[in-house]
């Protein structure tokens, strides 16, 4: 819309409530916390140490080892979401948006139900299902003659993270599905009809017509997945504990941060190192978001329908 308009108070009015609440209750506290990363506990309370905490985080092999381990795990966690959750979400949305699909509302709701559940329940039920002791997963695999494939996935270093990532995918697939579904619905019928007549149907219709038109939504989902995954914490915490076993193989930035910031068991919380980790995480996420906002989103064309 037009650029130079005199006195555009309304912009301020539209922005003010959100900016005020958000700044006061989110940004100020968070800045206050991140600020802690420049201090350390000294003899006489808090002392300013500059970037020393970051030097420790990246310089001390114990800290940096844990950090890189968490970052690596996090990257894998994210990768699985990108490779499984989002394509599955898009596929489900595409199926659901088929014209006059019967029971679409039921499917949509059913697929979304896991997203509604609290982490406590998700952690419990999947541990129960995957448990070698109580027989659900082994029994079902037995039923199809694949009992030998069974392993205590959550307890093995090589599988645990992937298993948890897949559980998380199971839980959250409803989110990309909803967003893509909404985006697909906003494509005008006529455009799809034109494609039908042009003989562009099924998969190629999806790839050549719908996909380009929902790219902005896919972009959003990717960045939300990225941000969500690099902030993830709860699922790992409830199912593997703050120590993210076995042997830290499921430790991601969120659990690492939590453990450090708030402490765990005998380990006292260290808000200063915790804030340093949080700042590093924040920098990583911010970098990702900026790449998206300024590199990708600008290039994505949006279409008004």
């Amino acid at each position: 819309m037009a650029g130079r308009r005199a006195r555009r108070w309304h912009i301020g009015v539209f922005l003010a409530p959100a900016v005020l609440v958000y700044t006061a209750i989110m940004i100020v506290p968070l800045l206050g916390t991140l600020n802690l990363s420049l201090f350390a506990r000294g003899e006489e309370g808090r002392v300013f140490v500059g970037l020393a905490n970051f030097a420790t985080l990246f310089g001390d092999p114990r800290w940096s080892g844990a950090f890189w381990n968490a970052l690596g795990n996090n990257a894998w966690f994210f990768l699985i979401h990108m490779l499984v959750q989002n394509p599955v979400g898009v596929a489900l949305a595409a199926l659901l948006s088929a014209p006059r699909l019967r029971m679409a509302a039921f499917y949509r709701t059913a697929i979304f139900v896991p997203t509604i559940l609290s982490f406590v329940i998700v952690g419990f039920v999947w541990k129960l299902i995957l448990s070698p002791l109580w027989g659900i997963a082994p029994g079902m695999l037995d039923g199809i003659g694949l009992r030998s494939l069974f392993a205590p996935w959550l307890g093995r270093e090589e599988y645990a993270l992937t298993t948890l990532a897949l559980i998380s995918v199971w839980q959250f697939v409803g989110i990309p599905m909803m967003l893509i579904y909404a985006a697909l619905l906003s494509i005008p019928d006529e455009v799809i009809e034109a494609a039908e007549i042009d003989g562009i149907t099924g998969w190629s219709q999806f790839r050549k017509i719908k996909l380009p038109l929902i790219l902005p939504a896919i972009g959003i989902i990717s960045i939300l997945t990225f941000v969500g995954n690099f902030n993830a914490f709860d699922l790992i915490y409830v199912s593997q504990g703050a120590l993210a076993g076995p042997d830290f193989s499921t430790d991601i930035l969120g659990t690492f941060l939590y453990r450090t910031f708030f402490g765990f068991q005998l380990q006292l919380g260290d808000p200063h190192m915790g804030a340093a980790i949080a700042t590093a995480m924040f920098a990583i996420i911010l970098a990702g978001v900026c790449v998206y906002l300024f590199g990708i989103q600008r290039r994505l064309r949006r279409y008004q329908f």
Partner: protein, 333 residues
């Protein structure tokens, strides 16, 4: 074998009957135009032929093949939408070429076809733009280009020229006529433009509230309408309907085309006053308010001037007038 056969086709939206038992046969290579007032169901019927709307009942056959239950992609048709329906993310070139590429046509050939179509529709300079950056008329031309590039057996056009300017409209109309001759394709064409209907059609189908009023060659409808509705609908400006009783005739109403009403300031059969004058250069339209017959339109060739609000006399050419009974049916001599 007919290129298109409709058998008792009906369509309901909810409880509204939009198409009401239409039978129609279109011969191969024929150019068939649907006309009718806005909302009479032209687009709906076209969409049913395309397979975009279910038929509520009835049968549709294309080229002798039952297609009632076939998806649009398998009906071998091309369609120009009233709302354009361009692919917003593709350039003009890709909008036109997509169907061909989908069908596996070699690249060079696709390029040649799109270039030819772009040339024909004066779109060459716009080939790399996207629909959002085009004007209304330009979009419409792209939509036409997309259809003709594919050269299918059956073309469906939904008011393809309504956003073009006069010059382009004439040019495109002639192009479509040429295309039709060249390809020998069957075309179904919806329009509300008299000139398009009269000039392009082999066969005009006049629709009214979902029913066929009359089918025939343009001049047949013009010269021999079955009823008052068709008579009034075909020909522009529309026919005048005079009160036959007031003229001492035994029919109910008398249809006289505007060009068959003589106008004179000196005298004539029907007195009236000029209420509005439209001077188009090559012709002049006078709207004359009369006591007995209401507002009548008079068309004169060339430039003429009549004082607005001045008294005039009109004289109908009874030889070329049509008689209708009270039900609106034509009373043939």
């Amino acid at each position: 074998m007919d290129a298109l056969t409709l058998t008792q086709v009906t369509k309901k939206f909810g409880r509204t009957q939009v198409i009401d038992g239409i039978d129609l046969a279109v011969a191969p290579g024929e150019f068939c135009v649907f006309v009718g007032p806005s909302g009479c169901g032209k687009s709906t019927l076209l969409r049913m032929i395309a397979g975009l709307e279910d038929v509520t009942s009835g049968q549709i056959a294309i080229g002798g093949r039952q297609v009632t239950d076939l998806p649009p992609a398998r009906r071998e048709i091309a369609m120009v939408f009233q709302s354009y329906a361009l692919y917003p993310h593709l350039s003009v070139r890709d909008n036109m070429g997509l169907a061909l590429r989908q069908a596996g046509t070699p690249k060079a050939e696709v390029l040649a076809s799109t270039d030819r179509a772009a040339d024909m529709l004066s779109l060459t300079a716009l080939l790399d733009r996207r629909p959002a950056d085009l004007s209304g008329g330009q979009r419409q031309r792209v939509a036409i280009g997309r259809a003709i590039v594919r050269r299918p057996k059956l073309f469906l056009f939904d008011e393809p020229l309504s956003n073009l300017d006069a010059a382009l409209r004439v040019a495109t109309r002639i192009e479509i006529a040429r295309l039709h001759r060249e390809l020998g394709a069957t075309m179904i064409y919806v329009t509300h433009d008299q000139v398009e209907a009269m000039t392009l059609a082999h066969k005009i189908v006049v629709l009214r509230a979902g029913r066929v009023e009359q089918v025939g060659a343009p001049m047949d409808l013009y010269n021999d309408p079955d009823n008052r509705f068709v008579a009034g609908f075909i020909g522009s400006p529309a026919m005048n309907f005079l009160d036959a009783g007031a003229l001492g005739l035994r029919s109910d109403s008398l249809g006289v085309r505007p060009e068959h009403l003589a106008i004179s300031a000196q005298g004539g059969t029907i007195p009236g006053r000029v209420s509005h004058l439209e001077r188009l250069g090559g012709e002049t339209l006078s709207y004359v308010q009369t006591e007995a017959h209401g507002l009548l339109t008079v068309r004169q060739f060339g430039e003429h001037d009549h004082a607005v609000d001045g008294p005039v006399w009109l004289t109908p050419d009874l030889e070329r007038a049509f008689h209708f009974n009270a039900e609106g049916q034509r009373m043939r001599a």
